[in-house]
Amino acid sequence: MTASLSSGAAAETAALQQVLAAEHAAVWGYGVVGGLLPAPAQEPARSADRAHRMRRDTLSALLAGRAATPVAAAPDYDLPFSVADAGAARRLAVHLEKGTAAAWHAALAALTTADLRRLAVTGLTDAATRGLQWRLTVPGEASTVPFPGSA
């Protein structure tokens, strides 16, 4: 019992670290997005950036509380495609929300503590909602997907 409980706790910690890594990447990515959108369109990017920073800080605190060292942001990231104008910035925002949704979705099975699972549902829900809002601004994107976060 003790061994399996502790391996459950280790799985939770690993899952939280993976989500934290995705949130770090999203915060970095929104720095790129924000710089390319015209002023009137920047508020959604700023608001998303704040939301991801908040999740990042929550996850870091949770991990520190579990005596784990929170993974750090990378000094640099590769963009998934060339991002040089507002249209590409919106597509990058879609990509960032899809990535964070996938991270929260992946964490759900490992998070068995009720508070952590609730956090993951909230994180997934927020990423899905922002992702849909961004997709509506990108021509050719599906407006809604039935299973956000799944491949």
Binding site: S4, Q18, L79, L108, T112, V121, T125, A128, T144, F147
Partner: protein, 159 residues
């Protein structure tokens, strides 16, 4: 993990999706069989997801009623397709037979009232799916969380 730091954004956001299997596979046995959670052992009662499935079917029929009366109701057609996918996924999970039709609902008199009804229904549905996710064993958590997220996001389209 064989990713360099520079590859991280392209890599991690994609690989994390693939990482699902890694996390789920390593967590599956200890989490699925050893914990003190009550629903782990085979329980004699009906599958708790049957209730969620019935509610999803009722929601789907609400969309049918609204779309029959207001085919251009904003967002309704796209959202209906998501719920049809939810019903299929839940049915596969609980091995339920194809449905008896839920009791018919009468449509509201205006598009605005119909959309308001659907928004309220989505909010309730998301809350139900969230509760189901919180009570579910590990193997079902991701699907139920995803359904909850999808239903909340629908509010963006239903206006």
């Amino acid at each position: 993990m064989p990713l360099t730091r520079r590859r991280f954004l392209a890599g991690s956001l994609r690989v994390l999706g693939g990482g699902t299997a890694l996390v789920a596979a390593s967590a599956c046995d200890p989490l699925g069989r050893s914990g003190p959670r009550p629903r782990r052992s085979p329980s004699p009662g009906p599958d708790p997801l049957l209730e969620l499935l019935a509610a999803e079917r009722a929601l789907l029929s609400q969309y049918d009623v609204v779309l029959a009366r207001f085919p251009a109701a904003p967002g309704a057609a796209a959202v209906r397709a998501d719920h049809a996918a939810h019903v299929d996924a839940l049915r596969a999970l609980v091995h339920a037979p194809a449905a008896a039709s839920p009791a018919p609902v009468s449509p509201p008199g205006t598009t605005a009232a119909a959309v308001a009804m659907l928004r309220a229904a989505e909010t309730s549905a998301a809350a139900r799916a969230t509760d189901a996710c919180l009570a579910a064993p590990a193997a079902r958590a991701a699907l139920l969380g995803s359904i909850a997220a999808c239903e909340t996001a629908h509010l963006v389209l239903l206006r």
